[in-house]
């Protein structure tokens, strides 16, 4: 493996000092060794990618650089100078800025207040705010970072919130900018804009470290890339000299199939027919505004969209557990039979009995009980099944045997059914849920974000199983915010925006760009918006993921 040999520490020194140099950084959390003897060099004025699976230690390493954790061992050099970073303040003074995956913004503060927080010029706010306003104007012009300084954060889209985080770092005169999974919450268009901003920053001589698990981003924007695996730095290479396949192999430690191999679909009769489904939540917000679609047997229907546009509500409603207080109308037919939308026969158990399997979006909250053992979790939802029971009592031995077999077939590691769900990694937790649902051979499988927080190896496996289920003539509804996943897995793609389906496309006949526009609520001719008399700029505002409960007064 040529790339691995070109280890970071062994790379010949260039004349200029590196922006960042880490030597032998180690950090353990209790028994977990998050970082093992990490060496890393980042050239000044470059964009350096750090890639690795979940739990590989990327975020920990960067948090050490930002003074969030103290390393157990090792040395940090910033611009060639040995630097002891004890807290965020020293990191900021050393010129390191960080944009966290979960933004560290105060929701009900204005942009300006967020920017000056912690770097106020004196005990009184007025002069600091005035100064920040001026600086912000300059930065906005320089880097295409336009944000209204007087807007409060909860009124901003996620993309704009991220700009505020970048502005925060620049206002603190960061020369080195670390971004942790920056595109996870963005639409493709927003991600493109972010990349343009990053390129602008690089042109100004700033150094950028990009942490991600998306290979495409690494290939697209970085100059050099380091790969982490299980707390160790396994390789540092020039991006131009590598390929996604090679990086994936380095990340996982074995060959990985990046693209799902599947035969063309052979759709049969409609399994699920959804007509004019509407849902108003307990706060009076319309979450679903007339959803209609069919899924046929032997077909995977993908629903793309930025999170918060009604996909969650749709899945919950189909799965039989809409949020309390929701008002629902419309119709769902399963194999020609009407399903109850309300009442006692609309619950998840009834849906399961009708042959609907469900891999929920949030496996930790809905898919598993984290403190229960793996074998208990494998039986949930199907615990009344005859083979799990003996008279009045549950047949725990039978469940445990069954769990062992499922864990074997789905390669869940460690293969110990007596371990609590909490103690499995994200990917293995997801395999437990997928095993439980798929092995019941459902006529319809609902899958929400099947690979969120799941490592590449497990992604490959889960995708394969979903395709196998399809090939067995079952219907699959796949909801994902990952466009790549939607494109590679689906036979048909619907895009959801603001509780509506904006359009259906075939994966072979569409592009990321077109889907991205639909995800932002823009149909090809904008006919939809015109019909409703909604001005286009207003529709953009509505594209914000609606995480904050509306009606919250500030």
């Amino acid at each position: 493996m040529a790339a691995a040999a070109q280890h970071a520490g062994g790379r010949p020194e260039t004349a200029a000092p590196h922006a960042i140099e880490l030597r032998g950084i180690s950090k353990a959390f209790g028994p977990v060794q998050a970082n093992k003897d990490i060496d890393l060099c980042v050239r000044k004025g470059s964009i350096h990618g750090i890639i690795g699976e979940n739990g590989a230690g990327k975020s920990t390493l960067m948090s050490i650089l930002y003074g969030f954790y103290k390393p157990d061992r090792g040395q940090i050099l910033i611009n060639g100078k040995p630097t002891t970073i004890t807290d965020s303040q020293t990191a900021i003074r050393a010129g390191v800025g960080m944009v966290f995956q979960h933004f560290k913004l105060v929701q009900n503060f204005t942009v300006l207040e967020n920017i000056i927080l912690g770097v106020e010029d004196g005990a009184l706010l007025r002069p600091s705010l005035a100064k920040a306003r001026g600086v912000l104007k300059k930065l906005a012009a320089e880097y295409q970072l336009n944000v209204d300084p007087d807007e409060t954060i909860d009124e901003l889209s996620v993309g704009h919130q991220q700009r505020v985080e970048i502005l925060k770092a620049l206002y603190r005169q960061a020369d080195i900018l670390i971004l942790d999974e920056p595109t996870g919450v963005l639409t493709p268009a927003e991600a493109d804009h972010l990349f343009r901003i990053l390129e602008g920053l690089k042109a100004e001589g700033k150094t950028i470290v990009l942490i991600t698990h998306k290979l495409r981003e690494i290939m697209e924007i970085t100059d050099t890339v380091s790969v982490m695996r299980r707390g160790e730095m396994v390789a540092s290479v020039e991006t131009a000299g590598t390929s996604p396949e090679e990086l994936a192999e380095l990340m996982v430690g074995r060959k990985v199939l990046l693209n799902v191999e599947k035969a063309p679909a052979d759709p049969g009769a409609p399994v699920l027919e959804v007509r004019d489904l509407r849902l108003v939540d307990d706060e009076g917000v319309e979450r679903l505004r007339g959803i209609s679609f069919d899924i046929r047997a032997g077909e995977i229907m993908g629903i793309a969209g930025v999170s918060g546009n009604g996909q969650t509500q749709l899945l919950e409603l189909l799965g039989g557990f809409p949020a309390a207080g929701a008002k629902v109308s419309g119709s769902i037919r399963m194999n020609g039979q009407e399903l109850d939308l309300t009442g006692s026969r609309s619950d998840a158990a009834t849906r399961r009995a009708r042959g609907i399997g469900h891999v929920p979006e949030d496996r930790q909250a809905e898919g598993l009980i984290m403190d229960f053992t793996a074998w208990e979790n494998v039986a949930f939802g199907y615990h009344h099944a005859p083979e799990y029971n003996r008279g009045l009592l549950m047949d725990n031995a039978a469940i445990r045997r069954d769990a062992e077999q499922k864990m074997e077939r789905f390669d869940v590691r460690p293969r110990n059914p007596n371990l609590a769900a909490r103690n499995f990694s994200g990917g293995n937790q997801q395999k437990l849920v997928v095993a439980r649902e798929i092995e019941r051979n459902p006529a319809l499988l609902l899958v929400g974000q099947p690979t969120r927080g799941v490592d590449i190896g497990a992604i490959e496996f889960i995708h394969k199983r979903i395709v196998e289920l399809r090939d067995a003539g079952k219907a699959v509804l796949l909801v994902s915010v990952e466009l790549d996943e939607i494109l590679s897995l689906s036979d048909r793609i619907a895009v959801m925006f603001d509780g509506r389906i904006m359009g259906e496309r075939l994966p072979s006949a569409t592009t990321t760009g077109e889907l991205g526009l639909l995800m932002a609520g823009i149909t090809d001719v904008d006919q939809h918006a015109a019909d409703e008399g909604i001005p286009p700029e207003h529709r953009h505002v509505e594209s914000l993921p609606d995480d904050n409960a509306p009606g919250e007064a500030r």
């Binding site: 913004l105 105060v106 503060f109 967020n114 927080l117 106020e120 009184l124 706010l125």
Partner: protein, 321 residues
């Protein structure tokens, strides 16, 4: 009801709202920083006891006031240690403080003074006297404005004026100073403050210390201003009423002024008209006395519209991985 009566009731309301206002502002600082403080009651009670005891022994209301602040601060510190340093449950810590104060004041009172938990009555320099503002007597006979100035505005204990001045001061501190910005931020999203390189722990302790001082003032006023000595359980739920007022006020200083005034007014009316005669029915005194507490229940039941507490309220801050 003539004008003089109205002035008298309002005057009484001002006196009665003062401890509520101070406690409410104490809660405001604490909760704005993300630390729930249901120990206001206990802190006030402790402060009332230490203030009355020291005022009696030294004969100085001012020394009493210092002792009151010290007593309240001691409990604040316990709350801080439990809920900030050791990330304990803030509500449980608050409840513990209330019990501690309730028991300790009576125990110490009996042990020291032997009067069944009371302190001896204070007189002279042991109490805060009424301050007559300049020209109060000269202006007394001016119609309307005269009585308002000389009876309603003038003639209160210094602590009443301190309480009222604390409102604009709190507003200014919260919304115009660096400390206020950070304080509000730490109650909304402590991670934002931490990543900005500012200590969450220090900020929260500062907020709790201010709350301790304000509760100290409130307790001292109860024992050495409003009354003349400490009586067992003399706070009578005022700490909880102050909390209700804080929610009613949506954690804003000026609203706190109006919210506590409402409670003070109800109490004043109840004192003035024990049996309110409405012509058809006579409202019994028990009901009148219960009015502030009934209002508290109504407010807490959410009849005031949605009040959004500071987002990080009640959660100890732990760095996430």
């Amino acid at each position: 009801m003539d004008f003089a009566t109205v002035i008298q009731i309002l005057d009484s309301a001002v006196r009665l709202m003062t401890p509520l206002l101070l406690a409410c502002l104490a809660g405001l600082y604490s909760e704005r920083s993300g630390v729930f403080d249901i120990g206001l009651e206990g802190k006030m009670l402790m402060a009332a006891f230490t203030a009355a005891s020291v005022a009696y022994v030294t004969g100085s209301a001012w020394l009493g006031l210092l002792a009151g602040i010290a007593g309240s601060m001691a409990l604040s510190l316990i709350h801080g240690l439990a809920s900030i340093t050791f990330c304990g449950n803030q509500l449980i810590s608050g409840v513990a403080i209330n019990f501690l104060a309730s028991g300790l004041t009576v125990l110490l009172g009996i042990k020291i003074f032997g009067l069944g938990g009371r302190t001896p009555a204070l007189s002279g320099g042991g109490r805060f006297g009424e301050i007559t503002l300049p020209f109060a007597d000269a202006l007394r006979d001016v119609p309307v404005l005269g009585p308002i100035y000389s009876e309603l505005i003038s003639g209160h204990s210094i602590l009443v004026y301190v309480a009222f001045l604390a409102v604009p001061l709190t507003w200014w501190v919260l919304f115009r100073t660096r400390f206020g910005l950070r304080l509000r931020a730490v109650g909304e999203n402590p991670a934002s403050v931490d990543t900005a390189g500012v200590s969450v722990t220090r900020l929260r302790f500062a907020a709790i210390a201010i709350a301790g001082i304000l509760c100290g003032l409130a307790g001292a006023y109860l024992a050495t201003g409003l009354s003349a000595g400490f009586v067992k359980e003399m706070t009578a739920g005022r700490g909880f009423i102050a909390l209700a007022a804080l929610i009613f006020a949506k954690w804003r200083p000026w609203n706190a002024l109006f919210a506590t005034f409402l409670f003070g007014l109800l109490e004043a009316i109840a004192n003035r008209y024990p049996n309110l005669d409405l012509g058809i029915v006579t409202v019994p005194s028990m009901f009148m006395n219960a009015l502030p507490y009934i209002l508290t229940v109504i407010i807490l039941a959410g009849f005031v519209g949605r009040a959004i507490p500071p987002r990080a309220g009640g959660e100890p801050y732990v760095k996430e991985r």
